[in-house]
Symmetry: C2
Subunit: 158 residues, 2 copies
DNA sequence: GTGATAATTGGATTGACTCCAATATAGGAG
DNA sequence: CTCCTATATTGGAGTCAATCCAATTATCAC
């Protein structure tokens, strides 16, 4: 039914082979999850459900949770859990990059790791722990929230 | 009723003045929370409730949550929220130290920050965020869980 | 002591998941 | 191409951590 060079098929093919190479079966739901993550990095489960519903008609939240867990376990999706946000997900794995999170609105962006290899930092005293990762979360105020503060500072007259 | 040099009173006095200097009222519950955190750093709310019940007879979980929130807001307690654990609390504040968390059992220990001042790391590209803190979580296996693995490795014969 | 302010409590509610058992589907064997 | 079985998806119930609210109780400045 599909032509050999249909670009949609090619994009799907990439994602499909990614799923297959992880030892998982290829389904429309799974491809849609990967596609959504490619479009919106740092998505939480709820917004993925909303996204997939727009695209596929209906998906249960449980399915999204299970797809994400399968992907995380297979190593093709990375899950981060910043304080105050539900778990976020992204396709960039293995490069040990870090994150900035806005204290006001939770907006999250990637910060490249200068070192690359993990763990990228090594403390002098590890209390006997064998370390495999250093996860760095930078906290601050995102550009949008800075703008809001500038317009409506906390100590402005009511 | 109490003598002038009762050591318990002195210890309490330290904690009491800590609470008072944070602009908060001094109550038995609050002193007990601080005392418990001094004994067991990285305690979660639930274990603090258990601890206080042993000590004071009865406390509601809501009270502990509210005491902890008040302390965190006042800056005399630091709250960390490692993925997979409920929020943990400690008295060390302001020194910007970091944490190691065991992937198996969640055991948490402090790692001193070499830099001290916050944010202790500065990425080159911040996407316009104004940063105030770099939170580092080291992930690994604690000594106790290493022992367990050594005795009962995953690929041992059944 | 007394009263204004702050702390504690119970109960209801939320959010983000997780568990389990039943049904549907992918994809290799034949 | 068809069938079979392991794997996916789903609904529903249940959990765990935490938060909201209104009512009661206690602290401490006066």
């Amino acid at each position: 039914m599909a032509g050999r060079h249909d670009p949609r098929e090619e994009a799907d093919g990439d994602l499909a082979s990614l799923v297959r190479s992880a030892g998982l079966r290829v389904t429309a739901t799974r491809l849609a999850v990967l596609e959504a993550l490619a479009r919106r990095p740092h998505a939480d489960a709820e917004s993925l459900v909303a996204d997939l519903r727009r695209r596929l008609g209906s998906v249960s939240p449980q399915t999204v949770y299970s797809v994400l867990s399968a992907f995380v376990e297979a190593g093709i999706v990375r899950r981060i859990e910043p304080a105050g946000s539900p778990a976020l997900h992204e396709l960039r794995t293995g490069d040990n990059h870090h994150h900035v999170v806005c204290r006001r609105c939770g907006a999250t962006a990637d910060i490249d790791c200068a070192v690359g290899a993990r763990p990228c930092l090594t403390p002098s005293e590890t209390h006997g722990y064998v370390l495999d990762e250093a996860e760095v979360t930078f906290w601050g105020i995102c550009p949008a929230c800075q703008q809001k503060s500038a317009r409506k500072p906390k100590n402005s007259k009511p």
